[in-house]
Amino acid sequence: MKVRVNDVELDLAPGTSAIDAVFAAGGDVPYFCSQEYMSPIGACRMCLAQVGAPRKERDGSWVMDEATGQPKIFWFPNLMATCTTQVMEGMVIDTLSERVKTAQNGMVEFTLINHPLDCPVCDKGGACELQDRSYEFGDGLSRFQFDKRHNEKHHPLSDLITLDRERCIQCKRCVRYFEEVPGDEVLDFIERTAHTYIGTADPGLPSNFTGNIADICPVGALLDASSRFRGRNWEYDHTRTTSMDDATGAAIIVDARTGRIERIKAALNPDVNKTWIDDGTRFGHEYADSPDRLTTPLIRRQGKLEPATWDEATAFIAERLKGLSGKDVGIAIRSDSTLEEGVAAMALAEELGTGQLDHAPRPAATLIGNQVATITDLATADAILVVGDLTEEAGVLDLRVKDALKGVTPPTLMPHGVPIADLRLKEHMPRQREILTVAAPYRVDLMRHAGATVRYPAGGEAAFFRALGKLAADANALLGEADEAAAGMSTGQARALVARLAAAKRGVIVLGGLALNRRESAEAARALVKAVGAKELAVGPMANSYGLELLGVLPSHERYGYAGMLDGAKALVLSHLDPAQDGEVAERLRGKDLLVVHDIFMTETAHLADVVLPAASVYERDGTVVNLEGRFLPVRAAPVDAGSSTDLTGVARALGEAMGKRLEGRSVRSARRVLKKRFDIDFAELPDHGLLPRAKSRGPVKALAGEVAAGTGNVLVVPSMARAEYLSRNRHLAAAVGGNRLRVNPEDAVKHNLTGGAEVRLKVGGTWRQAVVHVTDGVPRGLMTIPSLPEQPVGLAQADLAGIVVEQVRLEVAS
């Protein structure tokens, strides 16, 4: 479709908005209300332009301009909001005329009438759309000589978001965001005219994706409460990196100042998270700046851990290793280590000649199935089955599932990036809820958006998939009563679900940790995936679970896996793992000849260690992770002050030097040479949005773990968006989510004499867990749920319910 913008001729796809035509032509118009991935509404009137188009005669020929011999341009009588105007054949858009400039100037003046202009104390100052556009398109004068509107300056919408009602310019982005993106309509305009303000009749913000409104607010009205007044925008070091909070690999920007992380914002990755991240990712960083971070190595001398230099520490380790046979050493790294750290761990294992190498947590089944869906596949699916609590496990995927419910495919990128105004998106779009089925043993958030839900008994994933598999093999099969009870659904429901999946052209089955941590359920699930011809998306437990499995940071034999080495190895090198939380394991660790702990805090295990090495947090590493769809994503280090801490490649370098060896993973660069040979990708040049190689190159699977979760138990360890291991150090997030929740059915609460809000301690497996009781009918009778830890993976566990210690009773935190 031929369009002319000022003097630039363009050929655009039909359906493109005029504002995108302007930007595609390299032009510029100001706008406040349009937002990528949201419906355009033409509310702010900033993007006005003079627009015209030729007309056709009745016979289909163009009305001609006699003077030029060209089709005559009929100008629209008024200036048009380009964000809601669709391009037409031959359209002419003028954004430079005096008339347009006067209008833009007038709109700036009008928008600023009630804006407090308190930029010097505003957190948005320096990165504010209103500020920038006012300088560019306003003339700096105001004829408004009266008192400005006054309103609340610090209205807490939630514990995480503060609203300044004076600064709001009523663009409606936040109102639309909640309805369109997470689908939890909560905010709206209250009152009218100059008195209009953003408000809600609900007690707070309901969803798990509230932080995004601070990113999209074009002024400083909606602010991230955790970073308010912490610094000016130009003082921050912005690091574009990849979130290591969960397996989705969402794009984030880490803003650090004077060696501290002050805030995290969402960045754009059209194929992964678009521009949205969950609150766990955004607000879960405060632990990295905790004052009790380890900053220097520690060595045990006369039974006490004392500060030492890296040289002393590595010399000490090298000396102790000499007395041991290499194969008696076990090396385990946490599953959010980068690929580069994986190379370092492998190089160290090879140097020592040990097969006792593993990453943990690691599910019972492989994450690399035969038909791995991409996140885009999920967002464009026509039938989706989710097993588990996707919102908590991989927040971004929750939003992408909701994209699929809208039935609008991701927009095609334009020369200037994501279309600013995608005219296919509307407010209050109908959702095709019927394509989504959510199954879990307890009530999960995504069920509110699903057409069908299944609540199967805890630990019943295998029965659930087998029941579906049976009907996929024979549509006329009948499930027995026992089978129906075990699968949590009737034969009819199961048949309808199978029929929907089988009929779908782009069906996707999402397998959460609950399904992957038992081998039998994973096998049954994959049989179903094959039978109905769907694709699968397996949600790994941590950021690089997929990558470390792909790389092969795996034991040479299953008995040398993580659980095995805690038992059998004489010496252990553990990176970011804290198995000693389990009292029995702690006993066994005391008997080791050498225990080296590489971590960021003095964990239970570090207290037992012979040498403690200070580690880089996930925000301080350079490297690469592979997300759950197999996409290689770059991780870049933010400038955080953490003493002499380093990632595992630094450990490999220092330890190698002490042993007189140059190990392959002794630096990120050296590790990348190994990775380049392996994957034929230049990891130093990895683009921001990552790389999804077509062929899923992978060596043979060396070993698969045994069952990770027990088949029975009275407590279900569940995924949590707010990571349990760091929650006590994440002040704002902890206040917002109300601590690690032990969710209890009302009847069980009475039975065990637990009141909502009580702070309790209970022993789950061998580990004492602290939690806050949350009484809800969302969990069935006889089952409690508690957030998982890296050392306590998702699945059933046995807890000592008679021995629950109530430490403090407090008022329940509202949510």
Binding site: L187, D188, E191, R192, G199, T200, D202, P206, S207
Partner: protein, 199 residues
């Protein structure tokens, strides 16, 4: 999160299902939200205001949120989220009326009744509210008492109006629909001070 609110009162439409069905039937099935205005009106006519509980009930009926119901209600001065007095006096404050002196009129009423914008007198008889355009610019300034318009209200008319209301009755209106054709002088039933605005 998003737990359903429990009703403590009987739902308003519990015994008015026919009326409810009639109102809903005026709109297409996918346009239920449009029924919000008449439903709000129905509630307010009977209860004189719309409580938060009623807002939630209506939100559930039309398939939206209590927030949106509140947003709609606060947009229109017609709807009240708390009980108003027997006489709800609304003074238009938009341009035509403002130019014709509605500010002074409002100050007069405020002094006379001893209440400010949005308040109700202690005896529950009067409520006073500044409102946006009531759509009678030709006969500015306009004072609306409950559902009745009083037009071209100068100081004299206003005193007359307050005195009558104090007696507990709505005085007869000065019919000025099309006042421009009738002419101001001809329509005048009581003496109007010439210094409209400040007098």
């Amino acid at each position: 999160m998003n737990e359903t609110h429990t009703h403590t009162q009987t739902p308003f439409f519990a015994d008015k299902q026919e009326k409810l069905a009639e109102i809903l039937s005026r709109y297409p099935a996918d346009g239920r939200r449009s029924a919000l205005m008449p439903l709000l009106w129905e509630v307010q006519r009977e209860e004189r205001y719309v409580s938060e509980e009623r807002m939630r009930e209506l939100a559930e009926i039309v398939g939206t949120t209590a927030t949106e119901v509140k947003g709609v209600m606060s947009f229109y001065s017609t709807y009240h989220d708390q009980p108003v007095g027997t006489f709800h006096i609304q003074v238009c404050s938009t341009l035509s009326c403002a130019l014709a002196g509605s500010d002074e009129l409002f100050d007069f009423l405020s002094n006379e009744l001893g209440i400010v914008n949005g308040e109700t007198t202690a005896d529950g008889r009067f409520s006073l509210q500044k409102v946006e355009c009531v759509g009678s610019c030709g006969t500015a300034p306009v004072v609306q008492v409950n559902d009745t318009y009083y037009e071209r209200v100068g100081r004299g008319r206003c005193r007359h109006l307050v005195d009558a209301l104090r007696q507990g009755e709505l005085p007869p209106v000065w019919r000025e629909r099309g006042g421009d054709t009738v002419g101001a002088a001809k329509a005048e039933p009581v003496k109007q001070p010439t210094d409209r605005g400040e007098g």
